[in-house]
């Protein structure tokens, strides 16, 4: 948009943008500041933005207080497995949703929309009972199963968008050249979809890595719990917290999703908005 704008309006726009930037950034900067402050400064009655004597003690202490490495390993296993399984089973279904116009595709799309409205409590109680009968409570496998299904709606939504972006004419041309259905899918469609599949997988990984509610309900013992659940142990029973290690651990837990998200952000927003616009 390039309409002429007056100087005063421009200044106003920059001030507003600055206010937004401050609002978005300040809690995160405070988390960083707290993570690197020595205990003495955290106890001070007049906290400062910049630590006067920055230290890594909080990080060391965080690893001493809670089994963070074990928790990170659990999170990694759960998130990687869930993302891989979800993408492998979602891709063919997304293809059908994008290319076919039968009742099946309509029902699948309907489920994707409706599943966004479930309050998890209505699903978690029966899931808890089912997983208990299968002896999968307090196991990562139980959690992975739940994560796979939980990440499917958005994965299907994104992948269907990517399939639609592949021109149908390419498939038809391959069919004319005598390629069978399976060969068309594997050698024509799949390579074009690959970047979208990777982005969807990474997004599924991030959602599982960040997830809290299902992990809280399904994992009982500390050595099985994932990172977000273990983080809440820093808060203590009465909400009294050791602020430094809490901030340090919270910061570390965020890094993987922040880094991955920075990579795929454009694709996510592209996929999300493509779906929303097309609706």
């Amino acid at each position: 948009m390039s309409l002429p704008t007056s100087r005063a309006a421009r200044t106003g726009q920059y001030l507003a943008l600055l206010a937004y930037l401050v609002f978005l950034a300040f809690p995160f900067l405070w988390l960083l500041s707290t993570a690197f402050k020595p205990a003495r400064e955290l106890g001070s009655l007049h906290p400062t933005w910049i630590p006067e004597h920055p230290t890594l003690d909080n990080f060391r202490q965080a690893f001493d207080e809670q089994p963070l490495l074990q928790a990170a390993a659990n999170s990694l296993i759960a998130a990687v497995s869930a993302a891989l399984i979800a993408v492998v089973i979602a891709t063919p279904m997304a293809y059908v949703m994008a290319r076919h116009r039968g009742r099946l595709a309509t029902a699948a799309t309907g489920w994707v929309v409706v599943s966004q409205a479930f309050p998890f409590v209505l699903v978690i109680i029966p899931l808890f009972l089912v997983l208990k009968n299968l002896h999968l409570i307090n196991t990562l496998w139980g959690l992975i199963l739940v994560y796979v299904v939980w990440s499917l709606p958005f994965a299907l939504w994104m992948l269907a968008g990517y399939v639609r972006a592949v021109p149908a004419e390419l498939e038809e041309a391959a069919a004319v050249d005598g390629a069978g259905r399976v060969r068309t899918l594997v050698s024509v469609v799949a390579p074009l979809l690959a970047p979208g599949i990777v982005a969807t997988g990474l997004f599924a990984f991030i959602t599982a890595w960040n997830e809290f509610f299902f992990a809280l309900v399904l994992l009982k013992t500390p050595e099985k719990q994932t990172l977000p659940v273990v983080l809440t142990h820093f808060l203590g029973a009465e909400g009294v917290a050791d602020l430094g290690p809490l901030a340090a651990a919270a910061f570390l837990a965020t890094l993987p999703s922040l880094v991955l998200f920075a990579f795929i952000q454009r694709r996510i927003t592209g996929g999300m908005t493509a779906g929303a616009v097309r609706g």
Binding site: S33, A168, F212, P228, G239
Partner: protein, 309 residues
């Protein structure tokens, strides 16, 4: 194009080809459909059924059907309706300001401004963070002694600050602010995408006709982004009404239940007190309310979409 005469995916020739296509479709859908049926649709129906039973956790005696008894109890459960009211307050309190702020930011980012890249980089942070970390981070901000909020208030000479998350009057507004912060980037990006799909010519034509900024927004911008605005607001409302982790970490529903969202209430009922049947009934009531909202949204969306095309 002659290729279209072949069995291209979108151009079925006859019933036989249709049947073959459908068989292939089922084959492709099955790997995802099975888990969906077993772990999503099945549990959902099972959950609805549980609402009509006296199911409890760890009980040896078998569960019995009790008809609508759970729902009758729910009707008289003032604590549940309190939490329901709080859930609606929270969902509106987050969704509406978040939408307005996000719209403002999206309009700004649609201009040629210098710090746009920074805004985009910063927007990643709330979006990619685990909700648990967002909660922890804001607890550090709100901390009565060591937090930056009270320190800023003291620096500005506005008083001593207070314990925001445990104050009866301040707890709900404090968690609502966090909710707004956490969901703003996603809403902004969705609205920005809508803005970027608005044809420039319309704006320029409207400007030439002498339309002011507000008129241009109302007659050109808003109609273009309305479908996205409706969709994202409805989804935000639903997600917020059902949210759990953020408030669980911030206040655990306290003080005195002032921030006890329906999900927190149902979670406690199910997994602290073991009242599975009763908690399932709560879930049903939540679904019912959300379905109404979803229906309103779908009707609005279809109408909006109709104007669009």
């Amino acid at each position: 194009m002659t290729a279209k005469r072949r069995s291209g995916p979108r151009h079925p020739r006859n019933g036989q080809a249709d049947a073959a296509r459908d068989r292939a479709a089922w084959f492709l859908v099955l790997p995802a459909l099975l888990p969906i049926l077993v772990l999503s649709v099945g549990p959902l129906l099972y959950g609805i059924a549980l609402a009509f039973t006296d199911a409890q956790s760890g009980r040896t005696r078998s569960t019995q059907w009790i008809g609508t008894l759970n729902f009758q109890d729910l009707l008289h459960d003032t604590l549940f309706w309190d939490s329901f009211r709080i859930g609606l307050l929270w969902a509106f309190g987050v969704t509406v300001p978040q939408f307005l702020l996000a719209l403002g930011l999206a309009l700004l980012l649609n201009q040629k401004l210098r710090m746009r890249w920074l805004a985009r980089a910063l927007a990643i942070i709330p979006w990619a963070m685990p909700e648990v970390v967002v909660g922890i981070m804001w607890r550090l901000v709100y901390n009565p002694d060591a937090g930056i909020l009270n320190e800023t208030i003291r620096d500005l000479g506005l008083g001593d600050g207070r314990d925001w998350l445990t104050g009866l009057a301040t707890a709900l507004p404090a968690v609502i602010l966090v909710g707004i912060w956490a969901g703003m980037p996603q809403t902004t990006v969705a609205l920005l995408a809508g803005l970027q799909n608005t044809p420039h010519e319309l704006h320029e034509a409207a400007a030439l006709d002498g339309a002011g900024a507000w008129r241009r927004f109302r007659t050109v911008t808003w109609p273009a982004i309305k479908p996205i605005a409706l969709a994202i607001s409805a989804l935000n409302f639903i997600w917020n009404f059902n949210s759990f982790a953020l408030v669980y970490v911030l206040t655990s529903g306290g003080p005195g239940g002032r921030t006890r969202l329906p999900m927190l209430f149902a979670y406690e009922e199910a997994f602290r007190y073991g009242q599975f049947g009763y908690a399932a009934a709560m879930g049903c009531v939540m679904v019912a309310v959300i379905s109404v909202i979803l229906a309103v949204y779908l009707v609005g969306r279809i109408r909006g979409g109709g104007e669009e095309r």
